[in-house]
């Protein structure tokens, strides 16, 4: 299938990708960055959980706190993908250097453990620093001389259970800082995060708990006034057998003789045990597909556009990432 002529999210510059643990949100974020690049955009892919997930996915050495080119979007018009792992300590030092010419005081802050305090203990400050840096990458200003302008920024964000709190920085600080520079900084960030330039995409798999968590997450984002993007259903089982075939398998109404004959033509004639075990595997598959379909209905009921990515049997390597990126272009998430 060719790429969809246009993206479903043309106005969005900041793509925030969240998902329950184990659903593959980092993979989807990376694939989305590649997909946007294949549309000719210059893309920055960020992560904030100090896991070096980007380096592992793209099979490069651990990345430092700097914007480094890691991939190129496919196709003749493909743009570049840059990566930036954002950690709160570096973000804070950079912020202080950019906005406060602190000089000796900056070093003293570090020496007195203030940086550590702010980034690990002080509630909310960590998230303000991370989202603040994210804001800066999407809104380059004159203080950051010579910084690259990005058409799109993709964030591999904290998991669904924490995403609203993470993005709702000004609420998180509300009880704490009612005025002052931190407060106005977080208000500026919040304005971007709540605007049409931002979309929060949720990654799920077709299982009860992740789907439930996705529905809850969408509700929380709505309540917080944050813009919900698409739902990416990841790791979907192969769709080889049609409905009538699956029904026959579920009811154990498939004629073994017919399968045995076809296996003869296919010259994988390993006898009756193979027929039985293939039918058993088919039954198992049909059962799981039926359960997936129930969950798919629930996902559709959430009311956000959905996109589906297959489970790659060989696992996700760089080739797999490009494959998933192509699918996201076809379906219009990018």
């Amino acid at each position: 299938m060719p790429p969809a002529p246009t993206s479903d999210w043309p106005a969005v510059q900041l793509h925030i990708v969240t998902g329950k643990g184990g659903t593959g949100k980092s993979t989807v974020a990376a694939a989305l960055a590649l997909a946007l690049a294949s549309r000719g955009k210059t893309v920055l892919l960020c992560e904030v959980e100090a896991r070096q997930g980007i380096a592992q996915l793209f099979d490069v050495a651990p990345l430092p706190y700097e914007e480094r080119r890691i991939a190129h979007g496919s196709g003749p018009a493909g743009g570049d993908v840059y990566a930036l792992p954002i950690d709160p300590e570096s973000a804070m030092m950079e912020y202080l250097a950019m906005y406060y010419r602190l000089g000796r005081a900056g070093k003293a802050l570090d020496r007195f453990g203030v940086i550590e305090f702010a980034t690990t203990i002080a509630p909310g400050v960590r998230d303000v620093l991370l989202t603040g840096k994210l804001y800066e990458t999407a809104n380059r200003n004159s203080r950051n001389k010579g910084a690259r302008q990005y058409d799109a920024v993709v964030l591999d964000a904290p998991p669904t259970g924490r995403i609203t709190q993470f993005l709702n920085v000004s609420d998180e600080l509300a009880g704490l800082a009612k005025m002052g520079p931190i407060k106005s900084q977080s208000d500026t960030v919040t304005t971007l995060l709540r605007s049409r330039r931002t979309a929060v995409h949720l990654v799920t798999v077709l299982e009860e708990m992740p789907v439930q968590e996705t529905a809850d997450g969408v509700q929380q984002l709505h309540d917080a006034g944050l813009p919900v993007g698409g739902i990416v259903v990841n790791q979907v089982r192969p769709q080889d057998l049609d409905k009538s075939a699956r029904t026959a398998l579920l009811r154990r109404k498939v004629d073994p003789a017919g399968v045995a004959a076809a296996l003869g033509v296919a010259r994988v004639d390993d006898g009756a045990t193979l027929v039985d075990s293939l039918l058993e595997e088919g039954h198992d598959h049909a059962q799981r597909r039926a359960l997936e379909d129930e969950q798919r209905k629930l996902v559709a009921g959430i009311g956000a556009p959905t996109y589906e990515l297959p489970k790659l049997a060989a696992g996700v390597d760089l080739t797999g990432l490009y494959e998933l990126a192509a699918q996201l272009c076809e379906q219009g998430l990018a």
Binding site: F112, G113, V114, I121, R126, A248, A266
Partner: protein
């Protein structure tokens, strides 16, 4: 389909275990649960790998094998919490209904209690137990305390360990429990809960605290050039009001610091004790296994006792030895022969499914092998992916049976 119906359906599907666990020794879960000296089992691992379910299943199995168990869960799925009777978040252990003690192994006397962690309340209780009523009230009302106790990223980890310490003390004092099974928070990193107590203690003891306390404690001593610079910078960045709140909080907290540090230290020692065992939970995915490897190494470093690795959600290997390549070659031949009958279509579909499954199983086996090669002495249990989520005691028993049948 009702859940009961579904779980009944899924039973016969569990059948044979996932393909041989390779070179690693099998994890003897029942020996672990039956060992009377085993007082604490900690389940840890990356998010989304089934830690909570594993912890609950272990607790139930231990109870039904005669142990007096309490399970501390952090963030259970709603239906599992309902099934265990712990959806009301009141921060005290409650008996789990429907546990059949004594009937499975003929070892009576077992019991199962469970609770869900309320981190804010746990923190409040620590404050209340350490400070005079007036001082406690003052701390609890401080905006900075409210923020720290409800949203600081490490509070959940710290409070989980705090609660574990409390449960252990209760168990020793009252004899109500002889085994505590703990789930750990879904941290960014599985290691956070190990570091949280140290980090909080380190902070409370740190220079920054002394700096904030300085004005209250006689400024002359610390009124260095650095101090002036820092307070000025802080005022510029976070504003005078936040700084004042922090100072009030720290001043009120000052007398409790010693208590907090000692508690953190005791919890850490408890985790190193002989009666404690860690189970690292993972899924057969690179990220989860990488996290597991990291964790195994860290436990060794900290001299904390590792019982083994539980690999959840493994794909069931197909029977027979038809390879993926042969299956796909068969699909090609069917196509080349121009077969379009429903039986041929069905067969082609089944062969493609088979090939896919074989490849997934091969990949998972490779991932587990590579873990086992670098950590050959880690006893491992491999559990097949179940068709549905577990949300009743029967489901937990099924998991428990699978855990218990690895040897």
């Amino acid at each position: 389909m009702t859940p009961a119906h579904r779980s009944a359906r899924s039973h016969p599907r569990i059948g044979p275990l996932v393909a041989g666990t390779g070179t690693e020794p099998a994890l003897d879960v029942d020996a672990l649960l039956d060992e009377p000296g085993q007082r604490i089992i900690v389940c840890c691992g990356a998010g989304g790998v089934g830690k909570t379910t594993t912890a609950a299943a272990l607790g139930l199995r231990a109870a039904e094998r005669g142990r007096k168990v309490v399970v501390l869960t952090i963030d259970p799925a709603r239906r599992l919490a309902q099934a265990m009777g712990i959806e009301a978040l009141d921060n005290v252990p409650r008996p789990v209904p429907g546990v059949s003690t004594g009937s499975t192994t003929g070892k009576p006397g077992g019991s199962l209690d469970a609770m869900m962690l309320d981190m804010k309340r746990t923190f409040d209780e620590v404050v209340e137990s350490q400070a005079s009523p007036e001082k406690a009230a003052q701390i609890l009302a401080n905006p900075f305390y409210v923020a720290v106790s409800s949203s600081f990223a490490g509070t959940q980890e710290y409070m989980a360990m705090e609660k574990l310490g409390q449960l252990d003390q209760d168990a020793r004092r009252t004899g109500r429990w002889d085994l505590i099974v703990v789930d750990t928070p879904p941290s960014r990193s599985a290691l956070d809960f190990l570091d949280a107590p140290e980090r909080l203690a380190g902070f409370l003891d740190g220079r920054f605290m002394r700096l904030l306390l300085a004005p209250a404690k006689g400024p002359a001593r610390l009124m260095t050039a650095g101090f002036g610079l820092v307070t000025n910078a802080l005022t510029r960045i976070i504003g005078a009001q936040v700084l004042r709140d922090m100072q009030t909080f720290v001043t009120a907290f000052d007398t409790l610091f010693g208590g907090f540090r000692q508690r953190a230290q005791r919890t850490f020692e408890l985790l190193q004790a002989d009666g404690t065992a860690f189970l690292v939970v993972a899924a057969p995915e690179p990220d989860a296994l990488r996290e597991a490897a990291y964790f195994v190494e860290r436990l060794k470093e900290e001299r904390m006792p590792l019982a083994g690795l539980v690999v959840n959600r493994a794909s069931r290997p197909p029977e027979g030895d038809l390879s993926a390549d042969r299956a796909m070659a068969g699909v090609e031949r069917l196509r080349a022969a121009g077969e379009t009958s429903p039986a041929a279509e069905m067969t082609a579909g089944l062969l493609r499914l088979h090939a896919d499954r074989v490849r997934i199983v091969e990949r998972e086996t490779r991932l587990r092998r590579s873990f086992a090669t670098s950590h050959p002495d880690v006893a491992t249990a491999v559990l097949p992916a179940l068709a549905t989520d577990v949300h009743d005691l029967d489901g937990l028993r099924t998991i428990g049976d699978l855990l218990g049948s690895q040897c």
